[in-house]
Structures are given as structure tokens and as C-alpha cells.
Amino acid sequence: MSTTTTTRRLTMAQAISEATAQEMARDPRVFVMGEDVGKYGGIFSATTGLLEQFGPERVMDTPISETGFMGAALGAAAEGLRPISELMFVDFFGVCFDQIYNHIAKNHYMSGGACKYPLVITTGIGGGYNDAAQHSQCLYSIFAHVPGLKVVVPSNAYDAKGLMTTAIRDDNPVIFLYHKGIMGLSWMSYFEGSTNEVPEAQYTIPFGEACVVREGSDVTIVTLSQMVQKSMLAADQLATEGISAEILDLRTLVPLDRAAVLASVAKTGRLLVADEDYLSYGLSGEIAALVAENLDTLRLKAPVRRLAVPDVPIPFSHPLEQFAIPQVDNIVASVRGLMTFKLD
């Protein structure tokens, strides 16, 4: 990025809308559809201003028919358009997952590469504001589990803009999951680290490149999305205790930057995976397995630790939800725990 580029502080929601608008202006094949994406501008403001700029032919409010418009995204993509289809909350994937995992994810493969499906599914994830079990999940591991979907999970506005531009230009289906608690909405408390300087000009961030958002030497925290912001706060606190934490923001789960994980763990010898998805059979297990598979070259000073939702649905009540979703204090305590080991 050239240093003469104008930047502004944007919220993640503004960055996503801007990336979409710029790509729509550049490429007439791009259009947006979903529930309340038009007049309302997206419940989480990911499409704010688009209707005014591009009109109802390119910014389409849909009926509450997720199977209908996810399937339609596939059909339109097959014809060479580049749909962006918004699933308001990721939790609603249950209504339309057949279109996503049996078709959007697999048709390219089943056609032996003959057919392409350049589409983006955007969706809101995450809890922390008492929206209970059907509106608070992350579920990115489920999408990452299915071969054929690229999975993007940004933690801040700068990354979100570059990754969204890359997503729209990708010839594959991409699922772009934004955490509601870092969008910078005016009606939900959020982690302010997610609002940052964003260049006005278009730019791309390649998929599969994790980002070291904080360098450290004692422990690696592998994380993503809102949990990056929580980890940053935890690292500040740990620093006052003389513990130096390195934070690796994965940014995309598919493709996954395995080399970055291994390089950081090789340096620190300690790994905490901080995740807001369910504990079992998910991201944290994947990262732990990656490290386990490389123990011939890695030397660990402590066992791998995982922080995630302890295999319970997200409860409504404040104290229950705070308990179920890992918080800054839990990250701090887990890292402290890691520092007590002396493997060698």
C-alpha cells in the first residue's frame, strides 16, 4: 500500500459496505441480495448505502426464503454473475444448508472443474449481547469442515475491506463471517480495536495469510474474529505480569495459514487457541492437531490449551452467557496456566 493513500477510521461495517460498493462500481456482474439488505441497509449495516447508490435491481431485498435465495445465488453465479448473498445470522444456515454444502460447495468439484460459482455469502456471527442459542453462534468450523468453501473471518475494518474485495473477486464460493460485536454498530457495545484506519482506495488481502497482530516471545495465541480483540486486551494485562504473548489472527480458515501457526509456536513453545465456536470437533482441535502432527520438529514447553464454548448452546442469561463464551479474563488465566509448565 502506498503511503500517499488517504485513510479514514472506519468501523468494520463501513469497511465491508465500502468494499462491496467499490467492487459493484468496478464490476457490473456483482449484485447483493438478502433479507433487509436494501432499505434497512442490512441489520448489521453490512450493506448500508448500497441501495441508494445502485438501486433495487442490484440490491435486492428478498423474502424470508433462505433456501430460495441461496440456491438463486448459485444459479446466478453459474451464469457468470457474482452474487453476494446475505444470511442475516449464521444460525439461520440450518434453513438453507443443503444449497450451501451439497451444491454451492460441491458443484465445481462434481463438474470436474467445468462449472464455476463465484459467489459470496456474508453472515453475522457471535454472541455477547444475550441473543441466546439461535442467534449467537459462530459456526465457522462447520463451513470450514465442508470441502469447497473458502472461509473468511475478519477481526477489524482494515482486514475486512481487503478480504471482502478478495472474496468478491474470487472464482470460488466464499463465506464471509463478520462478528456482530466488532462491526462498530451504534446499538451494540463493541471492541474498539476493530475500528481502524482504512484506505479509501481499493486493495486486496490474499486468503491464507495469517497476521501477527502482536509480537511476543512466551506464548502464541492463535485466534480470529472478535477473540483477536479480546486477546489484545488479555495480552496488555499479561504484559504487566511480565508475560509476552504473540497473537496470530488467522483471518481465513480456508485456506489456513499452517506455516504461520507453526512458525509462531516454534518461536514461543506455547500455544493457546482462543475460539468462540464450540470446543469439540472444531477450529481449536484443528490447530492442536496441526501442532501435534509437527512435534518432530517443534519443541513445546507446555501442553496445548484450548479455550472455546464448552459444548453447550449459547445461553441467554447474562451470567450464563459470560460463562459459556470465553472472556478476556479466561484468556489471561489460560496463559498464566501455560506458563506454569516446564516440559523439556
Binding site: 434497512y40 423474502p63 424470508i64 426464503s65 444475550n130 448452546p313 445461553p315 441467554f316
Partner: protein, 336 residues
């Protein structure tokens, strides 16, 4: 089917109760969610206050709930959606436990696990869901069970006009007609699915017209009126109880608040909600009762005092109940 005096008075009292419940919640919900005590720069904080999370209020839609539930017994099933309070109250869900649930308290229906969109009261066979369209097939299951178990219980699925564009709705209608299930589908047409007007989401004007495609009667209730709903629902429930199969009813009703509390409602014409209140169904039923000498100032005041006591007791109960222990989050994933 004519409503008896008792049924008319019941509907009136329930509507008054629902309205007071929602108007109280509208205020309680806003407690501690507005500046200056929230994060700087925010206009509103959805996760703050004694009742956090989303809040979908049903003020204005009372006739749908009472007009249908007036025909129901304790052993009939009701499946509601994300805007469930009016149905819950009309189905006699425990008001204290329901309110405590919204406060996230240990004494709540779900011990604080569910919140306002996920109320379960098996004692009166009430449940609801935050997933739009999910309830219609579930009501079919309850109706199927009634038949298999040899009872004449019926099941009601309540949902919005927006939900009638979900595949689940269409699958449920076919199932119900095919299996001749004792179920009634009740669509609340409050004109909006969040910001999207029905005319922008639905290819035809009335969902009642869709019934014919599935081989069941379709009834449109064009007035947001408890007696009109009562009459349409009476036929449908009786038909279901007789084992003659399902009915689809659509009621044109009015949403007085935003989609959720805190909704800026920029999509709605200014003054629309206020204009809707000119046709408030509660005074309308009150006037009917008075015209038949079933209500006067004194009995109305007594009724309102009684209702207020119930509603305020429920809010006090919710507010004063203890929170669950944090680690209780781990309980109830599986039955023992």
C-alpha cells in the same frame, strides 16, 4: 360461532393484560440501554440492562392471540414464533416464570437459558422459536401425536406473514392436508417482516389464497378484531377437533412498536404506528361489551386493577428473582 359472554369478557381481559405486559416491557427493556451510561458513541446498547437481548413486542396484535386461544384447552398445543408474548399470555403460560425468563433468572421458564424468543411451558403445551418458519411443521407433529395418542387435542401454529415465504411453511401445509391433521395455521399479517413490506415479499395479496393449493380451507380475517378472529378460529378449531383436517387463517393485524424495541423504523412512513392506534382493538371490544351491558366504568376499572396486579407482580417476581449460577450454563445439554 357466537362468543359467549364469558368468552367475550375473557378476551377483553386478556387483551388488556397483554397490552399492559408489552407496554411495561417496552419501558423495562430500555432501562440502562441508553446514554450516558453505555459505551461512548453508542445510541443504544442491546446487551445492557435488566432485560438484555432482542425484544419483539406484540402490542396491537392481541386480537390474533385471544381470538384463537379462546377456543383452546390446556391440552391443546400452541407453537409461536419470535414475537411470542401475546400467544403465551393467551395460552395461560405462567406469567411469573415467563417474565423471570426474560430477566434471565433461575426462576424463569427455562432457568434463564432461553430468553424471550425461546419460551417453553409444557404444562400448557406452549413453545416458540427465534427461527422464522420453524413452528409450522412442529405444530403438525403435535397434531399427529394427538391423533396417534387418541385425543381430540388440536395444535396451532402462529407466525408472521414473512414466515409464509419459508419452505417450512409450504411443506407443513402439504403435510397437514395430506395427513388430515388437527392443526390450524394462523398467519399474522402485520404488514412487515422487519423492514420488508408484504407487497415486496409476497407474490399474492393474501396468504389465505394459498390454502387452496394445498387442499384446505383458507380464511382471511380482514379486521384486527378479536370477535372476527374468534369466529374464524372457532370454525377452524372445531373442524380440526372433529378430525376433518387443517385450516389456514390469515389475520390483518397491526404492529404498534418497531420490529424490535430500539428499531429506528426508518423504513416506516412517519406517523403510521400512531395512525394504527386509532383503530385500537381493545377499546373496540370494550365498546361492544358496554353496548351489551357487559361492562361499565366500574367493572372495567376493577378488571384493570386486577390485571395490573398480575402484571406488576410478574415483573416484580422477575426483577427480584436470583440469577442462575454461571456454571449452570453446563446443565441441561442432555436429559439425565
Amino acid at each position: 360461532m357466537q362468543a359467549t359472554t364469558e368468552q367475550l369478557l375473557w378476551m377483553y381481559e386478556k387483551m388488556v393484560e397483554i397490552r399492559e405486559y408489552e407496554e411495561t416491557m417496552a419501558k423495562v427493556y430500555l432501562e440502562a440501554k441508553l446514554p450516558p451510561k453505555i459505551q461512548k458513541g453508542l445510541a443504544f446498547d442491546i446487551g445492557a440492562g435488566p432485560v438484555p437481548g432482542e425484544m419483539h413486542l406484540a402490542a396491537g396484535q392481541e386480537p390474533v392471540a385471544v381470538g384463537v386461544c379462546a377456543h383452546l384447552r390446556r391440552d391443546d398445543t400452541v407453537v409461536g414464533a419470535h414475537r411470542p408474548h401475546h400467544f403465551a399470555i393467551a395460552k395461560d403460560v405462567d406469567l411469573n416464570a415467563m417474565t423471570a425468563e426474560m430477566y434471565g433468572k433461575a426462576t424463569g421458564l427455562g432457568r434463564g437459558k432461553g430468553g424471550h424468543m425461546h419460551l417453553f411451558d409444557p404444562a400448557v403445551k406452549f413453545s416458540c422459536s427465534g427461527i422464522v418458519g420453524a413452528g409450522a411443521p412442529q405444530a403438525c407433529g403435535a397434531a399427529l401425536a394427538a391423533r396417534k395418542l387418541g385425543t381430540d387435542a388440536v395444535a396451532i401454529a402462529f407466525f408472521g406473514e414473512g414466515a409464509a415465504n419459508q419452505g417450512a411453511f409450504h411443506e407443513a401445509l402439504n403435510l397437514a392436508a395430506l395427513w388430515k391433521l388437527p392443526v390450524v395455521f394462523v398467519v399474522e399479517d402485520n404488514k412487515y417482516g422487519i423492514s420488508v413490506e408484504k407487497s415486496a415479499s409476497t407474490a399474492i395479496a393474501s396468504n389465505a389464497d394459498r390454502a387452496v393449493a394445498y387442499g384446505m380451507p383458507g380464511v382471511l380475517v380482514e379486521k384486527n378484531d378479536a370477535v372476527a378472529v374468534f369466529e374464524a378460529a372457532g370454525e377452524a378449531v372445531a373442524r380440526a377437533r372433529r378430525g376433518e383436517g387443517p385450516t389456514l387463517i390469515e389475520v390483518k393485524t397491526d404492529r404498534y412498536y418497531g420490529h424490535f424495541q430500539g428499531d429506528p423504523e426508518t423504513y416506516r412512513p412517519k406517523g403510521e404506528a400512531k395512525a394504527l392506534r386509532q383503530h385500537d382493538p381493545i377499546p373496540a371490544l370494550g365498546a361492544l361489551l358496554r353496548s351489551r351491558d357487559l361492562l361499565d366504568d366500574e367493572s372495567d376499572a376493577a378488571l384493570r386493577t386486577r390485571v395490573s396486579a398480575r402484571v406488576q407482580a410478574a415483573y416484580d417476581f422477575g426483577r427480584n428473582s436470583p440469577y442462575p449460577e454461571p456454571q449452570d450454563a453446563l446443565l441441561h445439554v442432555f436429559a439425565d
